[in-house]
């Protein structure tokens, strides 16, 4: 095992991406993720790899599009307003079936919003985000270690499924420092990139495109994409459960909010309240089955988000009326405290140990 070092989330994910074989980083400055481009601008040239500060987020995602089309591992990072600009490119990546890794260190919105942490981009991240009928895999880390661990995973998933993998972090995760171990992990077997544009040398021309004008061709492409997305749902749904088995109140939270929720749950348990946590790690595909199964017992679900309620829709779809669902959220840079969540748990409690 590698040594434990103290790093902020933004730097940890950067180094993890380099270890995962990143060929090129493209990005445009925006707070609260500027540590990434500062780190990359130093480290990528040291590794003989590419760093470009683009003229906009539009350009950054299209640079990723170009590098990815040639079979290289590339990524971009930004924060909410910048991710909005990238949606055009992410839609084209989906249409052209190109792998890409995008990190969103979310800040408060809408509009220019503020630079405080937020989870307000859940809808955008999990519903495709741009135009057309597509999905991106969305990974939601809740610690600096997970931010680092999800980088190689993101690149592998992107290559396996030829789609965009979005890491949905927030301003707290990006900025906070925690001990982290950066290990080079063996890559899983990955499909050959025989579709890549490398020059038509002793093979027919390769074309990367998303325009399908022939009658029925685009419909066929969409069915093919949906088949792929079903495979992703089957194989890649990830979630963590914490003391759910005997819980009367099950919190559903992701990212940094799940960490805060665990503090609240531990305090609640000291008070004799049976509380537990389901933490979706993939926001798309969403752990619908796991939540649905948990709703078969008599219990209340408390969804906590740093937004006015976005993931709560997916929780309701999963539970489908089988159990009560209560929401608590803080938008626009507000962060729920452990005591605040504990108070909510208390309000929902009908019996104690």
């Amino acid at each position: 095992m590698g040594e434990r070092i103290l790093m902020c989330g933004n730097e940890a994910l950067s180094e993890a991406a380099i270890i995962a074989g990143l060929d090129a980083y493209f990005g445009y400055p925006i707070t609260p993720q500027n540590e990434i481009s500062a780190y990359m601008s130093r480290r990528m040239p040291e590794e003989g790899k590419v760093f470009v500060q683009s003229e906009s987020e539009l350009a950054a995602i299209n640079m990723v599009f170009g590098a990815s089309a040639t079979g290289k591992r590339s990524m971009t990072t930004s924060s909410s307003p910048g991710i909005s600009l990238m949606q055009e490119g992410i839609s084209y990546l989906a249409g052209a079936e190109l792998p890409a890794v995008v990190v969103n260190v979310m800040r408060g919105g809408p509009g220019l919003g503020n630079i405080s942490p937020s989870q307000g981009d859940y809808f955008q991240a999990t519903r495709g985000g741009g135009h057309g009928d597509y999905r991106t895999i969305v990974l939601a880390p809740s610690s600096v270690q997970e931010l680092a661990d999800f980088m190689p995973l993101a690149f592998d998933l992107a290559d396996i499924y030829r789609m965009t993998v979005l890491i949905l972090a927030d301003g707290i995760l990006g900025q906070m420092m925690e001990p982290v171990v950066l290990d080079k992990k063996p890559k899983p077997p990955l499909p050959a990139k025989d579709w890549a544009l490398t020059g038509a040398k002793q093979r027919p021309q390769n074309i990367v495109r998303s325009l399908w004008l022939k009658d029925g061709a685009l419909e066929d492409l969409n069915y093919k994409l949906q088949e792929k997305y079903q495979q992703v749902q089957k194989n890649e749904t990830r979630c963590e459960q914490y003391m759910v088995d005997d819980a009367d109140v099950v919190i559903v939270a992701y990212g940094i909010v799940a960490r805060i929720a665990i503090s609240a749950i531990n305090k609640a348990r000291q008070e004799g309240i049976w509380a537990g946590l389901i933490r979706p790690i993939t926001l798309w595909p969403f752990p619908t089955e796991q939540i649905s199964k948990a709703a078969e017992e008599l219990r209340i679900f408390l969804v906590v988000e740093m937004s006015c309620g976005q993931m709560v829709d997916d929780v309701n779809l999963a539970i489908a009326g089988k159990a009560p669902v209560v929401f608590h959220g803080r938008p626009g840079g507000g962060v729920p405290s452990a005591d605040e969540i504990l108070e909510k748990i208390r309000q929902l409690t009908v019996r104690k140990k």
Partner: protein, 246 residues
């Protein structure tokens, strides 16, 4: 029997979707000839725009990508930076390059990206039905300038090649046309030169603007369109080398 003329191998043996008298066919051929004569077919990657030439990959037989409207220079940047041994070109129209993609072309030139840009200027948006482009001439009637383009409110024709030529990162900028055989030969020479610069590792962007006819949306015959380029378009967009550091 001696062959005096044949299809060049980087051009596919197929019909195009271009309208009668359109200039894209000529430009495609010149481009393909330049690629074949330089022997770079198997290391060239082309970028098709959004516009009439979006299907260029159906006619040009090299590895190609189709990209979002105007973003070709950014895509080219991603490709060239990660593949410095490859020859990267974008093929863009005036809507693509001079309207929606203005930021991308200026900044690719500004960063001195070692790419080649073929810029087809036909003074209208062709694919969407002949609307005003930034390059539309004053007084020119289009689908969105029914009274003819007026500078007051619709702006003057945008001379983007002149704009680009002042950037240190643009190392070669030339405006050509295809309105007669002499101009076609000049355009071929320019396109080949632009590729040669990239091939030789010259440190910057090379761009060839081609004034090209759009008879359908100019509401003229193909022959009249060629005349219009020579008589009217070249007044606003003078032909010649705007810059060549070689």
């Amino acid at each position: 029997m001696k062959t005096v003329f044949k299809r060049t191998s980087s051009l596919k043996d197929t019909q195009t979707h271009y309208c009668p008298g359109c200039g894209h066919g000529l430009a495609h051929r010149l481009l393909a000839e330049a690629i074949d004569e330089l022997g770079i077919h198997d290391r060239t990657i082309g970028i098709a725009p959004v516009g009439c030439a979006v299907l260029a990959y159906n006619y040009l037989d090299v590895d190609m990508i189709e990209v979002a409207h105007g973003r070709a220079p950014a895509v080219a940047t991603g490709m060239k930076r990660t593949n410095p041994d490859k020859i990267i070109f974008s093929y863009q129209g005036d809507g693509d390059l001079a309207a929606i993609g203005t930021a991308e072309i200026i900044h690719a030139a500004h960063r001195a990206e070692q790419i080649t840009v073929i810029f087809i200027n036909n003074a209208v948006f062709g694919m969407t039905g002949g609307q005003m482009a930034p390059t539309t001439l004053l007084g020119q009637v289009t689908a969105t300038t029914p009274q003819g383009r007026q500078s007051n409110g619709q702006g003057f024709p945008l001379q983007i090649s002149e704009l680009l030529a002042i950037l240190p990162g643009a190392i070669y900028v030339e405006r050509c046309s295809v309105y007669n055989p002499v101009q076609i030969r000049n355009a071929k020479k320019a396109i080949k030169h632009a590729f040669e610069l990239q091939l030789n590792g010259a440190k910057g962007l090379s761009l060839v603007e081609v004034l090209s006819p759009c008879p359908v949306y100019w509401h003229m015959s193909p022959a009249k369109s060629m005349e219009w380029i020579e008589k009217e378009m070249t007044k606003v967009f003078p032909l010649g080398k705007l810059k060549d550091i070689a």
